[in-house]
């Protein structure tokens, strides 16, 4: 309840506009952590269709699937981020995003939560929060109302 009040307060504060420009992030769960990617980077959220594994593919590639006739390569975000692997549950989703090459890539995540709006003051840049040696995938740490959100740069995740 306290949380709720707090986030209501921060939403109100944002509406008043005293916290600068805000960015919208889609929050999702993966291996017990919460992550966020900028909403504008996501084309679509899908329930996973049957995925065909591709022999000899890079390790982080789950396989390929068809999205209304479009062939999409699906990456396992767990493998990209080197976190513990676990089979998908029925809450598993695929986030569709575009790589730097323009190719549409699917990103397998455990569960999609909701959209959060973060002001610049609520984002810690990766370098200052985590030190110099951070993967290029991580944009920073988001701290909306006491939560801990790892913000990912979708284009570099799906291009890497």
């Amino acid at each position: 309840m306290a949380n709720l009040t707090q986030s209501t307060a921060s939403r109100l504060a944002r509406r008043i506009g005293d916290r600068g420009p805000v960015r919208e992030f889609l929050m999702f769960a993966l291996a017990g952590e919460l992550y966020g990617v900028e909403l504008t980077r996501i084309k679509e959220i899908l329930s996973p269709p049957p995925i065909t594994t591709v022999p000899r593919a890079p390790r982080n590639v789950v396989g390929v699937c068809s999205v209304r006739g479009l062939l999409v390569t699906v990456l396992d975000l767990r493998r990209t981020l080197h976190v513990e692997e676990r089979p998908l549950t029925r809450r598993g989703r695929i986030l569709l995003g575009a790589a730097e090459s323009g190719e549409v890539i699917g990103l397998l995540v455990d569960e999609v939560r909701h959209v959060v709006r973060l002001a610049a003051t609520e984002i810690e840049p990766a370098a200052s929060a985590l030190g110099g040696d951070v993967s290029e995938f991580v944009l920073g740490i988001g701290r909306p109302a006491g939560e801990f959100l790892i913000l990912l740069d979708l284009p570099s995740v799906v291009s890497g």
Binding site: P49, P50, I51, T52, T53, V54, P55, R56, A57, P58, V61, V64, C65, S66, G69, L71, V72, T73, L75, A99, S101, E103, V104, I105, V158, S159
Partner: protein, 697 residues
């Protein structure tokens, strides 16, 4: 360029491109007719019309540079067709230069850049220089019994043709012909076509003496080297009267001219310009008709249609399943009805698929024309005389393949001219004709199109080639000693190999053949090389006819359902584990007296094996491309299906062995095997090539 909608711009570019290609074709034909010592005025005329149209188009779309070039070029071509300039190789060079300039300008316009303006200036200067050489000539026409009134209505061009023909010592004839009004266009064209064998129809005018309301009588003025009897034999008919137009005995004695029947040609002055206008009208109507029957379509739209057809095919399969289900539930009547609909749908879908495929097909002539230009250019650059012989330009292939073919073919031709064909003197010394011959042959063979690039040059020097490969560390001397001839020849496809020591501006430093090979295999094709020392080299490209939709064999290997394009499958047989022999660590079987190397697909791909793989009957799918064969051991054959191949994304471009993926129905995706890649990978073994010949028996 002025602000235009994207669509209009696209239209403009593709139309301009087409016109430039026509122009290029005309110039090439002109080049060959000049070499053969004939002059075909219709070619210069077509070139003139092409440039004229382009000028109009450029004006319409505000393409200033295009318009300026067309304007100058039009002047020169006009001088050419009116005989004010003589057409020679030098003039042709400048004209070809203009074609290159057009292409460059179009590209610049497309990307909205303004480079290369100085090159234009140089070209303009050359066009000016040629134009300045134009002369006005004395008319020899007066030698003939032609009414001055006729001469008055001749266009400048017709007058030039008349003059040119007289200079060539042609005899003039008058053909009086009755035409049926309803068929005059067609019959007149046919007549012109037939007349071409004997000479040329210079002009035609109505006589005004129609025998009935449905007919019209024309007088045709024709120049020919053949005599009257020959012409009557060839062109004569009930409705055709042919007469010779006599030469005046002497120019200075017009009084001695024999009495003549009044003819239309003689009375042309009274008719004024009317006939000429009428004729122009007919021509314009004809060209408008042909325009409206053609539609230019972006190939992506066809891809989209093809995708829809692919999806409909999935719907069709679902129909089949529902029908089966109904039958199972005892609803026989309903099932039969649905089955009938299913069959009907199936047939129509097939027709639609064929229709879309047909639209995608274009003749290889499109790319061959461009190559002919390249041959001409290079042969003049390096000072070697080259005769290009093209056969099978009408062979059709997928538009996308044609686009991707021009670079590889250009590399091959450049190599042939530079490395293959000996310099002129060298050829004469070995008893070959001075002019080197490059043959470009295309033909269809089953589901494949074969393209051969053949030269009659010195052939590939195998010992030099292997030495070079050894010095580059591509293979060891002992490996080289064990290689067969074909394997040695295949060395030219290794990166960085060239048999000529010096790099030059034509083929560079052995650039190309490895890239050529890569590009061809991207199209699902293979390239084979055959060479005889001193006799020549022949490269053969084998390509699938289309990339859009292919018949494929669906197979099971490990846990995977895979598709193998049928075009590269020669047969499938039951696998007998006991017949496998091990040669030098490789599995082979004997198929009809020949050794067939084997590849266990599940092992090669490191796929999980099928759970019951040990007990189950397995199969060998024999993949064959060109001369090479490979037996793929698979777990199950599902049968044949038409599939739409979609390329794997860029993130999977490093994965070898797959040509793409396809939808299998029920939302599943199946991978499509890349037969060419697999054969290459397994037979080359990732190490030094081995001699499979040794393995037989």
């Amino acid at each position: 360029m002025a602000e235009l909608s994207d669509k209009a711009r696209e239209e403009f570019f593709s139309e301009a491109q087409e016109i430039i290609e026509t122009l290029s074709r005309n110039l090439l034909s002109l080049d060959s007719t000049i070499k053969a010592g004939i002059s075909d005025p219709s070619l210069i005329n077509e070139a003139f019309r092409a440039v004229h149209t382009l000028k109009g188009l450029a004006g319409l779309f505000g393409a200033v540079r295009l318009g300026a070039l067309s304007h100058r070029l039009e002047d020169v071509l006009d001088d050419l067709r009116l005989g004010r300039i003589n057409l020679g190789q030098e003039v042709l060079d400048v004209l070809f230069g203009a074609v290159e300039a057009y292409t460059r300008i179009l590209q610049a316009e497309k990307s909205d850049s303004d480079d290369d303006l100085d090159v234009d200036q140089q070209l303009f200067a050359e066009l000016e220089r040629i134009g300045a050489g134009a002369t006005q000539r004395e008319s020899p026409v007066a030698d003939y019994e032609l009414d001055p009134g006729l001469l008055a209505v001749l266009t400048e061009y017709e007058e030039h043709r008349l003059r040119a023909n007289i200079e060539l010592q042609m005899q003039l004839y008058r053909l009086r012909v009755q035409f049926d009004l309803s068929t005059i266009d067609k019959v007149l064209e046919e007549m012109k076509e037939r007349a071409k064998r004997h000479g040329e129809i210079i002009t035609y005018l109505p006589t005004g003496e129609a025998t009935s309301a449905d007919t019209i009588e024309l007088d045709l003025l024709m120049a020919s080297r053949d005599d009257l009897a020959t012409l009557i034999g060839s062109l004569g008919a009930d409705n055709v009267v042919i007469e010779e137009i006599p030469r005046r005995a002497r120019r200075s004695h017009p009084a001695t001219q024999p009495p003549r029947r009044p003819t239309a040609l003689g009375r042309a002055d009274s008719l004024g310009m009317q006939p000429d206008l009428e004729r122009v009208g007919i021509e314009q109507a004809a060209s408008l008709r042909s325009l409206t029957q053609t539609v230019r379509v972006d190939i992506r739209k066809l891809d989209h249609l093809m995708n829809i057809v692919g999806e409909l095919a999935i719907v069709r399969s679902a129909f089949g399943r529902v029908a089966e289900k109904l039958r199972g539930e005892g609803q026989r009547k309903l099932a039969a009805e649905l089955q009938r609909l299913h069959r009907n749908f199936d047939r129509r879908l097939g027709e639609m698929q064929d229709g879309i495929l047909e639209v995608r097909m274009v003749p290889l002539g499109q790319v061959f024309d461009r190559l002919a230009r390249v041959v001409r250019q290079i042969s003049r650059e390096v000072g070697k005389e080259i005769r290009l012989v093209i056969t099978g330009a009408e062979t059709e292939i997928d538009k996308l393949i044609v686009e991707e073919l021009s670079d590889p073919l250009m590399h091959m031709i450049r190599n042939a001219i530079d490395h293959g064909i000996e310099p002129g003197q060298g050829r004469v010394e070995v008893g070959k004709p001075l002019a080197g011959t490059i043959a470009l042959n295309a033909f269809q063979k089953g589901n494949h199109v074969m393209i051969e690039v053949e030269d009659d040059g010195r052939g590939i020097n195998l010992s030099k080639l292997t030495e070079k490969a050894i010095s580059l560390g591509k293979l060891t001397r002992s490996e080289a000693e064990e290689m067969s001839r074909d394997e040695m020849l295949a060395l030219i496809f290794l990166p960085g190999l060239s048999t000529r020591e010096s790099a030059d501006d034509v083929s560079g430093r052995g650039v190309g053949m490895d890239i050529v090979k890569t590009n061809i295999s991207k199209l699902g094709g293979v390239i084979d090389v055959h060479s005889e020392s001193g006799i020549g080299t022949k490269m053969t490209i084998t390509l699938p006819i289309t990339l859009a939709i292919v018949s494929a064999l669906l197979i099971q290997a490990g846990q995977h359902t895979l598709a193998m394009p049928l075009s590269s499958v020669s047969e499938a047989i039951a696998f007998d584990e006991g017949a496998v022999r091990l040669v030098d660590g490789r599995e082979v079987i004997t198929l009809r007296g020949q050794t067939l190397p084997l590849c266990r697909l599940d092992r090669l791909m490191e796929m999980e094996s099928a759970s019951d793989s040990a007990s189950r009957r397995r199969f060998v799918v024999v993949a064959a491309l060109g001369q090479r064969r490979l037996g793929l051991v698979v777990d199950f054959l599902y049968g044949q299906e038409d599939i739409v191949i979609k390329p794997l994304g860029k993130s999977l471009s490093g994965v070898r062995g797959f040509a793409g993926a396809t939808e299998l129905g029920d939302q599943r995706v199946g991978l499509v095997l890349d037969a060419a890649g697999l054969i290459e990978e397994v037979l080359a073994g990732g190490e030094a090539p081995r001699m499979l010949e040794r393995a037989s028996g």
